[in-house]
Symmetry: C2
Subunit: 431 residues, 2 copies
């Protein structure tokens, strides 16, 4: 109800700043008392969104119910009725966006969703308008506050993932069922929308590579911290850096698309990286455009008023576009993708590999030989004493830039070695 | 000529993204060969901007010559001729903006200036549209790349200001006459524009409080670094936190303005502050809005293509507004200021005070007594051995929150004490 609050309290301020007078016409809530208790006049409440669709005083429908079921019906009904839509629903747009945007295009209506990605940060506006002259080259984002809170706490307190999750749930930073956050799906929804907006690449959501933070060990956080890195759950979009890209056709050329990597995974950032300073439940997104070069946007990813701030900015932009005939936040997904999706096996990065091993002669040699056989060069090796890992040695290797497929082959073979205690940890370094 | 480059090379891309076709009609340069050598067709060049003012194919004039003389004539002539203006000229708008915006308002034209503040960062767009639902509460910005480069290098290498400035000049990070940058005037221009845009407060530029970095000692950088702080040249805008503000009338109420602090000064940030990670020639601006809370925007403050990226985004927005009848980046300074300017003496912060003193008994007592007599409480005291400061002791005091006027009174009295070696250093801590 932060949106209703702002619209009611700031009607005059918004009119003065924007030139349009925005009237909160109706609030639909199955429990109308809830809205009334939050300060919405009773005569503006209805108990079913369907009752609003034929009302001529409704120009914009703001969908804030969440989920991909009833919310889908609401948004489609609104577009069918010729109304613009503002929504904060990333799951809905990432998973069922195709028919929604097709309907919006057909009806010549706007679907605005600033609040759906990185909450209070005016990121979509910046990408769509501020950086309009750029071809985007990469995007790395911390877009899930729950995961960032947990990883920040694990780092600060040296506690385990499970302990940290329980504490986060107690404090309201994680939901009772935290899987959508901690398994990376929520970050994936946001990444898919950023891909469409900034890279003209609409992602078939189930094909997106997603790894969450459930398997992150406080041992790896402690070790990588000591090596100068900070661990974050990252959404990464990168244009294909392979030298053959030009030969295969430049990125964005119609009919000859280049390749795009998209991935949600825990990644290591250098401590001096401004993204590494994005702590607690904050969000941060770094972009690289070919004209503007590096940018970063930082702020709250969620919360009642930060989200409302973004939703209201969309409402104002839609209202202005409507009143003055402008375009406003009108945006539709690309009719043709500018890229093909690159398989994660072709991803290139430096890697952090940790193997817990029995203390036997020849262990380091066998592991490094296996890496070498898969074209993986080693940048640094650290062996940590047993107190960190309960009796066995922890062998950490930082590689030179390597191909993900080669790393995976190496890890698969290393895992079968008789001195290994459990599966190795593999983390990408994002530089 | 980055702007001409982007407009020529990306005409189709921009048309596809924005719906408007932007034609680079003319380039005015006293030396037309320069433009031709940079790829502008000869038939599009003229040697005097005055020749463009009556051309009907010119809708938008982009002023990129800099300075406040001829540039003023150019902008006024363009507005008089009914053309929109895009400019990157912060000095022009901060110092002579009043008649320019008055003319723009009279002629119903747009003056867009995204590139004038924090170069490539879409900051003005974000403040004007993305955060439109917020009352801004504070803004702290690193908006001068030259100063930030020098302070970053002094910190990393432990070298003096003079040495660092020479190196920066050699590398092209500082101009031959660096005074506008290092004495803070350039930051002041940007702060004045941010004040107008985000706080509805038009600043009479000569009254702005500005301190530069010429007096910064590498000793203070080393000491504050060891205490957990990073020194930056900051532009600061803060609404008055004094408890009596409500009594004097809430901020922004017509006829009863509150107070606003505006200041450019070297300030200490905690190392964990995301702004402290803004290194080298990068820019970063942190804002606090009452709905969205903390945000930060980071990117390149200058450079050919980052600046061009911002200029072109303005050109596109003006063209869209022009073609579709929308408002676009139209903005005029407030008709009435929302605040009064607060005297810097009423500023409240914690302070870092360093006195170089002869090693005599009673020194610490006399200094701290003087502070106490002026209502300044002490949070921490560190006395450093003589190797840092050539024979004398360096006495560093971190205060509790104190009034600037009280600090200045204290320092004035301490300076007269017989054991002082030179003037004390006083730095504000921004938290």
């Amino acid at each position: 109800m932060g949106v209703a609050d702002l619209l009611l309290e700031r009607r005059e301020l918004l009119a003065g700043r924007s030139g349009v007078d925005i009237d909160l016409a109706w609030v639909a809530d199955m429990d109308t008392d809830r809205a009334i208790n939050l300060g919405v006049p009773r005569e503006k409440t209805v108990d079913d969104f369907r009752k609003l669709m034929d009302k001529p005083d409704v120009d914009v429908v703001v969908e804030l119910m969440g989920g991909t079921g009833v919310a889908y019906d609401c948004v489609m009904a609104a577009l069918d009725a010729g109304k613009h839509v503002v929504t904060a629903n990333k799951a809905l747009l990432a998973e069922r966006g195709a028919p929604i945007f097709a309907k919006a295009r057909e009806k010549n209506r706007i679907v605005a969703f600033e609040a759906a990605v990185a909450g209070g940060i005016p990121l979509l506006l910046s990408l769509r308008e501020g950086l309009i002259a750029n071809r985007m080259q990469s995007l790395v984002g911390i877009v899930n506050g729950t995961c960032n809170y947990i990883l920040t706490e694990m780092t600060a307190k040296g506690i385990s993932f499970d302990e940290c999750l329980k504490e986060a749930q107690r404090l309201g930073f994680a939901e009772a069922d935290p899987s959508s956050d901690i398994d990376g799906k929520d970050s994936g929804h946001k990444l898919a929308l950023l891909s469409a907006l900034a890279f003209e690449m609409w992602v078939d959501f189930p094909t997106l590579h997603i790894e969450g933070i459930r398997g992150i060990s406080d041992v790896d956080i402690a070790i990588t911290r000591s090596l100068g890195y900070t661990l974050k759950l990252l959404g990464v979009i990168r244009t294909d850096p392979e030298p053959l890209a030009a030969e295969k056709g430049g990125k964005g050329e119609v009919g000859k698309p280049g390749r795009l990597f998209l991935s949600v995974h825990p990644g290591l950032l250098r401590n001096a990286d401004p993204l590494a300073a994005v702590a607690g439940s904050m969000n941060g997104v770094r972009t690289e455009g070919d004209a503007v070069m590096e940018s970063m946007f930082y702020g709250r990813g969620a919360g009642r008023y930060p989200t409302a701030s973004a939703v209201v900015s969309d409402i104002v932009a839609v209202a202005r576009a409507s009143a003055y005939g402008g375009i406003g936040p009108r945006w539709y997904p690309p009719q043709q993708n500018a890229y093909n999706m690159a398989p994660i096996e072709d991803y290139e990065a430096r890697y952090y590999l940790r193997c817990v091993v029995k203390d036997k002669p020849g262990v380091l040699g066998r592991i490094t030989t296996e890496l070498g056989a898969n074209n993986v060069s080693i940048a640094a090796v650290h062996q940590f004493e047993s107190d960190l890992v309960g009796g066995n040695a922890s062998l950490c290797i930082i590689t030179q830039t390597a191909r993900e497929g080669d790393m995976r082959d190496s890890v698969r073979n290393i895992t079968t070695m008789d001195f290994l205690e459990g599966a190795p940890t593999l983390l990408r370094i994002e530089e």
